[in-house]
């Protein structure tokens, strides 16, 4: 390119012209600017829908959004009232699935980063994690029906749905734990080993405390994923309607482990496609609360990550 530029400007050009851009150089700069604008435009086009969607949803949901909308139960065949029962159901599912997935996922991450050697078994485990993350959500639902509802005998219940969600979100925790652990410098471990500590002692006293915050961001992401999923709970425990006490302590503990429950994501699906006569505002309101829940959990995780990066000492 440079030689082309030299021939077009000519050998006899004076010293100043030698350093001004020739036509080739100018075209190069123009193309670069065009491409940058084009790619930037594409990126903006991806961001715009997000903003447009969020503003539309909030604007249409505005009439119903109030404290009562959150604390009241659905009434008169879901056409009025609030979203308390599904909201509590979502919390049940999220926390039970978290209780199942977090220990297994964190220990699996510890295994992959601290114990596994460079061999075919490790490769297989990594491949399994990737594949587990890629299994379609509806297949997880079928697995939940086959394994938890029928084989384990949980029936369609909170427990079966939460276990299905746990298997589904396991890769999120494993991957982020692995990343958090690999961010701990190897020299920390070596120093600890030199003091005579065993492998587990090193992990327990040095590696895990230094990685705990990174692990937590992964756990937070699991929460957001589990709260939003619908397909895996369709046939494993979510149900159209459950009558739930309106106030008092009983309204916080409406579901037993083997009861079916309502869930916010499934509730949004049913009131928008299965039930007739639900006002638009009620539907948009449910969608906004679901997005608000998931997005705020994600933002918390992001803020946490930024904060950690700013105070990292190594």
């Amino acid at each position: 390119m440079a030689s082309e530029a030299a021939t077009t400007t000519g050998v006899h050009a004076d010293a100043f012209r030698r350093f001004t851009a020739g036509p080739v150089e100018r075209r190069k700069a123009l193309v670069e600017r065009l491409v940058a604008c084009l790619l930037g435009g594409v990126t903006v086009l991806l961001v715009l829908p997000l903003i447009a969607i969020l503003t539309t949803l909030v604007a249409k949901a505005w009439p119903v959004l109030s404290w009562a909308f959150i604390t009241e139960n659905p009434q008169t065949y879901m056409t009025s009232g609030g979203i308390w029962a599904p909201l509590v159901g979502t919390f049940y599912l999220v926390f039970i699935s978290l209780a199942v997935a977090a220990p297994i996922g964190v220990l699996a991450g510890v295994y992959l980063n601290e114990y596994a050697g460079e061999n075919w078994l490790t490769r297989l485990v990594n491949l399994a994690v990737v594949n587990l993350a890629g299994v379609p959500s509806i297949v997880h639902a079928l697995f939940g029906v086959g394994a938890f509802v029928l084989f384990a005998g949980f029936g369609r219940s909170v427990l079966a749905a939460a276990c299905t969600l746990a298997v589904m979100t396991l890769p999120v925790i494993i991957t982020s734990t692995k990343e958090a652990l690999s961010a701990v410098p190897q020299s920390f471990r070596e120093a600890c080993w030199n003091m005579g500590a065993s492998r587990w002692q090193t992990i327990r006293t040095i590696v895990l405390p230094n990685a705990i915050s990174g692990i937590l961001t992964g756990v937070i992401l699991q929460v957001s994923r589990a709260a939003g999923e619908t397909a895996p709970i369709l046939f494993t425990g979510a149900v159209f309607y459950v009558a739930v006490p309106d106030r008092g302590l009983a309204s916080f503990l409406p579901y037993g482990l083997l009861d079916r429950c309502m869930a916010l994501s499934y509730h949004l699906f049913t009131i928008s496609t299965q039930v007739t006569g639900v006002s638009d505002a009620l539907q948009y309101g449910t969608a906004v609360v679901l997005i608000g829940l998931v997005v705020s959990v994600n933002l918390a995780s992001i803020a946490f990550r930024v904060y950690l990066r700013s105070r990292k000492r190594w």
Partner: protein, 302 residues
Amino acid sequence: MRHAVVSRLTPLVEPLVEGLIRLCGWSAIFFVFAIFFFVFREGAPLLVGTLDLGEFFTSVNWRPDSRIQAQYGILALLAGTASVTALAMILSVPAGLGAAIFVSEFCAPRVRETLKIVIELLAAIPSVVWGFIGYMVLNPLLISATGAPIGINILNGGIILALMSVPIIMSVGEDALKAVPDTYREAALALGASRWQLVYRVLLPAAKNGLLAAALLGIGRSVGETMAVLMATGHSVQIPHSLLDPVRTLTATIAAELGETVEGGDHYRVLFVIGTLLMLMAFAVNLAADLAVKGVRGKQNG
């Protein structure tokens, strides 16, 4: 004192903990096999029994409820999945990879961080909300824009799926570009290449396997997506003739029909057979993506 306790317990605790950690590590393999086993187990009696595989793959007749003669042909469902996925990929692969190139090569670090956060939030929106957006927001928009009688169709589902798969295409694509050594960039810039020439002549060829993996993972995401297509693509089991035809995908069929089936019946089992098929498709896509990425890594090491 404490030291004594620790040294007495450690030899006991250590192997136990280590065993537990290994067990959890291997659990991922266990779960993958368990998923395959349990889904296949429910579908197997039909698969080895009365299901005619030739008819299963080549017939467009999906009449699982018929009392006289139930027919299980999934060709129309395959066509539904293929059409929606194809449209989504046509929209999202150029957009996702373009955005990945922009974020990784063209924009300032501060803008990059903000954009990545926005894209992460885009990825966090639950699929049922995407379905709701398709059903409630995009549906009337498409009706007024195209004059079609119904706005829940391939176009709607394709747009929604494209928006859903952009984040994964973008993040994997960006990783692929970042994996190209900086020395390549420095060499190209030293030769007087502009940034676009650098991207076009150096980075794209060097990162092509990773970019291929990004597109493959996007396809995997689209094929496996359930709630959004269930709500946004309509419910007609048919071979589509235009972008404005409603279709039914494999995943939506399972989600829509499993609730109405009798446990152990043929209809129930055929849905599990479809589930097995979906899982095999997802595995194939993931393995291909994995091989593509491993391929590029091996070459760079060697």
